[in-house]
Symmetry: C2
């Protein structure tokens, strides 16, 4: 549902702010590019009668080589073998399957040495598997992102955001713009602790410097068919209003350089050229604009749909 049509209005001191040049934004379409998912093309991965993942039907046959692990492998259903009755046994078996699929090239990534959890609808972890296999099995993936921004004045758009340019040598999304700090969230570390750890690694922010500036602001989620499999992602989002003296430093390895962009420049580039960004960063910037009063019901087309589109319904 969209907000009411714009109407003639009284001039207020902030009229220019609330009637800026952003009515043309069709940001919903950009969010939807990250939410392309056709359930009928996936087979549920079932453990003890609970769906915990979704495997693309065209990839299902790769699992027929593991009859000790899967008691049923069809394009309609993949069933973990009932003899694997506990998390530890399932985890051992699924880690072995993941290594085998990486070796045969059925999974095209590198082993990440990070445990992700396959969770049922009640959030119980039923097995662990390396992050490299998470998309193949379509299990829930979690991550953290930080919006590091600098405020120049009191108006909502008197804000600049730090952006990081991903190094050209990176395997995923080389040369694309990214948040100042972000990363996957393995099991056994909390979102807050993970955010501090990533901030230290990626931007060289000491925990003492950043922890009193940073706070949790919500969640963005999306469900997207990608070449690696199903990305069913939940991003825990944090904001930090940084003093101009606190500048992120790159080691020139993961991030080529950081730049501080006026928020309107960042949002204009999201609209004009979303492919300049790692895809989920478009969602992160739109969410920032919505929460900070830059994208408003008065200046943004399909405002309510836009807010809804940032939090996709879980696929199981």
């Amino acid at each position: 549902m969209a907000p009411p049509s714009p109407s003639p209005r009284a001039e207020t001191p902030d009229a220019t702010l609330h009637h800026p040049d952003m009515r043309c934004f069709q940001l919903v379409d950009i969010v939807r590019r990250n939410n392309r998912f056709a359930p009928a093309t996936y087979a549920p991965l079932v453990v003890d009668q609970r769906t915990v993942g979704l495997v693309a039907k065209e990839r299902v046959s790769a699992l027929q080589r593991f009859p000790d692990v899967f008691s049923e492998v069809t394009p309609d259903r993949i069933q973990l073998h009932p003899r694997l009755a506990h998390e530890a046994a399932r985890t051992t078996a699924m880690m072995d399957v993941a290594r085998a699929l990486l070796a045969t090239g059925d999974i095209g990534e590198k082993w990440k040495h990070e445990d992700y959890g396959a969770k049922d609808a009640a959030d119980q972890v039923v097995f662990r598997v390396d992050r490299s296999a998470a998309a193949f099995f379509g299990i829930t993936q979690c991550g953290c992102h930080l919006n590091g921004y600098v405020r120049h004045g009191p108006r909502p758009d008197d804000v600049s955001v730090w952006m990081g340019l991903r190094h050209a040598s990176r395997a995923l999304w080389p040369g694309k713009w990214d948040s100042i700090v972000g990363g996957g969230l393995p099991l056994d570390i909390s979102p807050w602790d993970n955010m501090l750890k990533e901030a230290s690694e990626e931007a060289k922010f000491a925990a003492n410097d950043i922890s009193h500036l940073m706070h949790s602001v919500g969640v963005i989620s999306y469900v997207n068919s990608e070449k690696e499999g199903l990305k069913h992602n939940t991003m825990f989002v944090f904001d930090a209003c940084l003093p101009s003296s606190l500048v992120p430093r790159s080691d020139g390895d993961e991030v080529e350089r950081f730049e501080l962009w006026p928020i309107r420049k960042a949002l204009a580039l999201v609209e004009a050229s979303p492919e300049s960004f790692k895809p989920d960063i478009c969602l992160l910037l739109i969410d920032f604009g919505l929460r900070h009063g830059i994208l408003t019901p008065d200046n943004t087309a399909a405002y309510t749909s836009l807010v809804h589109s940032l939090r996709a319904t879980p696929p199981f």
Copy 2:
């Protein structure tokens, strides 16, 4: 999906903040109380093949008295007469129906003199009807709410929120706690302008004082079966960080008095006694806690579900 389980963590300067005593919160249940909706108990209201509302099946028979307005009235479908081919004709007819239903007591409210729009899924207004009939017909209802808060320090929970006690004489929700300013959003006024107007009426805030403090922060939506009919509500949410010198004033009519509550007191009362509030104010306070880093993935049960639950999928 919930965040990862809490785990042992390094001590940081803010450890006490991020590991407070709120793990027990089951706020999802409180949000769900505002989202009780069984689609099978409603008949779609169809205009020109588009569903624009939902009428409780038990109320459908009241519409059989208007054969010139509805070409079909059954518990499965209510069809606006095809001779009503344009918005103006439909509006005239539906306003007449609403007046008749108020006169017979089928709608138990007073005429509000505010036009609400029945909108299709593409947000086109197909007819207008008085706000008093919106729930009976289950059309989209929009409103605005302001979080007026005062910051005492830099930590996320160093914040107090202004609450208004609804006057005991009010027809709806007498004696319940409400936001500092809120109200329905008629057609022909923008959310921003409406928020300024309500702030002037309800809290005696001059537009010049409040407009540079107030900004849009998103949307909360819910779909709830209530005694008046279906509340399919979208709340446009605004925040204003108020200086301690800017105090809301009540005229003693709509609001009995305003009180400034520490945010943790407000959230604790939401958990312990949600019936102390006008129901949607529980959602407003939870959303505030989530956006401001008070309810976090590290301290709140079912965090991701909680975020999702605040933005119900539209029912048509």
